[in-house]
């Protein structure tokens, strides 16, 4: 046969790569839109616990964060501290903080505020309990203990 090979060998037409940058830019923008940026610096070291029963909050603008762990900067000591909005604070400052943070939400959503606690696994419960008590006093009752998800064991 060989019918198809009879013609002269033509060089392959170069594929235009002009649209490649556009595609990559679209990818870039997609990632920029979908990733949630960390809005504040973590000034404390936090290794989150691993749990199987995780809940994911859909409405991210309702979340306010409390970080608890040892300071990144050793000059502030090695004991666990509480971080509220980019600064270290005492547990007694939490009630005031909750009031202020509530006001940053729309009026209809003020009761729906979530407090996400990012606590280092090595922290002792004493600090965490104090924070929880303050939150209760401030009527910020919806709490999320931030954690990474893992599989259920031994079921």
């Amino acid at each position: 046969m060989g019918k198809f090979n009879k013609g002269k060998k033509r060089g392959m037409a170069a594929i235009s790569t002009a649209s490649l940058p556009d595609i990559v830019f679209i990818l870039l923008f997609f990632f920029m839109m979908t990733t949630v940026m960390q809005t504040e610096d973590e000034m404390v070291k936090v290794v989150r616990p691993e749990v199987s029963e995780v809940y994911k909050i859909e409405k991210k603008h309702l979340i306010r964060y409390i970080n608890i762990g040892t300071p990144q900067d050793k000059r502030y000591g090695t004991e666990p501290v509480i971080q509220l909005n980019d600064q270290f604070a005492d547990a007694s400052a939490i009630q005031e903080w909750v009031k202020i943070e509530r006001l940053t939400l729309a009026e209809a959503e003020q009761t729906k505020m979530w407090v996400s606690m990012k606590v280092d696994v090595e922290t002792k419960m004493g600090v965490v309990t104090d924070v929880k008590q303050e939150l209760r006093q401030a009527s910020a009752l919806k709490v999320l203990y931030s954690a990474n998800s893992r599989e259920r064991t031994g079921s």
């Binding site: 790569t17 002009a18 490649l20 940058p21 990559v24 830019f25 990818l27 870039l28 990632f31 920029m32 990733t35 949630v36 940026m37 960390q38 809005t39 989150r48 616990p49 749990v51 199987s52 029963e53 995780v54 809940y55 994911k56 909050i57 859909e58 991210k60 979340i63 996400s116 606590v119 280092d120 696994v121 090595e122 922290t123 002792k124 419960m125 004493g126 965490v128 309990t129 929880k132 008590q133 939150l135 209760r136 006093q137 009527s139 910020a140 009752l141 919806k142 709490v143 999320l144 203990y145 931030s146 954690a147 990474n148 998800s149 259920r152 064991t153 031994g154 079921s155």
Partner: protein
């Protein structure tokens, strides 16, 4: 002078530049995931609150101490055994529809091992609902209505846990946060597994699926099913008021 032809700029390297940007972005952003264990804290306790009498057998006591060991119902347990223990407690004397009725066990100290599940019967509920409606207590009638609906969905009567049955968690101030989270997680896993089993058997869907679908569609029929499952296995985890027990050895 002869005009030179306008030369086209080579755009081949544009892709490389864009890729560099993309990679830079991927490397530098830390993705902040908002996942974790959800908890509703109890409202602050008024000072004049009366202590309620609780039957010893109705409470599943979980304690953790400063050495990160676990004391469950006066026995030392490993964290891996906690889930099975909690499930056994919640099944209690049985027939939350999947488990056969079993006898309660009397412990050496005279207390019962499990809370006593009691029958909820449709015929009795209907009469109860009527009496509440006549008395004008609509809220109570609504609660009874929920139970009737659950029985209709399950296609049969079930036995419910007494209102006093709960899991009580007491943590020492020197317990590590990691252990605390693991305990919380295992207790929640126990409840979720029981709910999943029940929902799977009755509605052919896990409880987690039910909740997820309801979250998307807000369908009333799904909510009814969720509530029905919750009636059989309520989530009652109570955290005792904190106390510094580091001086006490368990």
């Amino acid at each position: 002078m002869a005009r030179r032809e306008l030369q086209e700029i080579n755009a081949g390297s544009m892709a490389d530049i864009a890729f560099l940007l993309l990679v830079f972005w991927l490397v530098t952003t830390t993705i902040d995931s908002d996942e974790g264990v959800k908890r509703q804290l109890p409202p602050p306790v008024p000072d004049d609150l009366e202590q309620q009498e609780v039957k010893e057998g109705d409470v599943y006591n979980v304690r953790t101490n400063f050495r990160d060991s676990l004391l469950v119902e006066k026995k030392v347990l490993r964290i891996s055994e906690l889930k099975a223990g909690a499930k056994d407690f919640l099944i209690a004397t049985g027939d939350g529809l999947l488990n056969p009725v079993r006898d309660n066990v009397e412990l050496a100290d005279g207390n019962m091992m499990y809370p006593e599940r009691v029958w909820v019967r449709k015929s009795e509920l209907l009469i109860l609902e009527q009496s509440y409606l006549v008395a004008g207590q609509t809220k109570r009638a609504e609660k009874v209505r929920d139970k009737i609906r659950a029985i209709e969905l399950f296609g049969g009567d079930y036995r419910e846990l007494p209102g006093s049955a709960l899991i009580s968690l007491q943590t020492d101030r020197n317990t590590s946060y990691d252990l605390y989270m693991q305990v919380q997680n295992e207790l929640e896993a126990a409840i979720n597994e029981l709910r999943d089993e029940l929902a799977m058997a009755k509605f052919n869907m896990t409880y987690a699926d039910l909740e997820e679908r309801y979250g998307r569609s807000k369908e009333q029929s799904l909510l009814d099913r969720i509530l029905a499952v919750r009636l059989v296995y309520p989530q009652r985890i109570s955290e005792a008021e904190p106390r510094d027990a580091s001086a006490t050895y368990y």
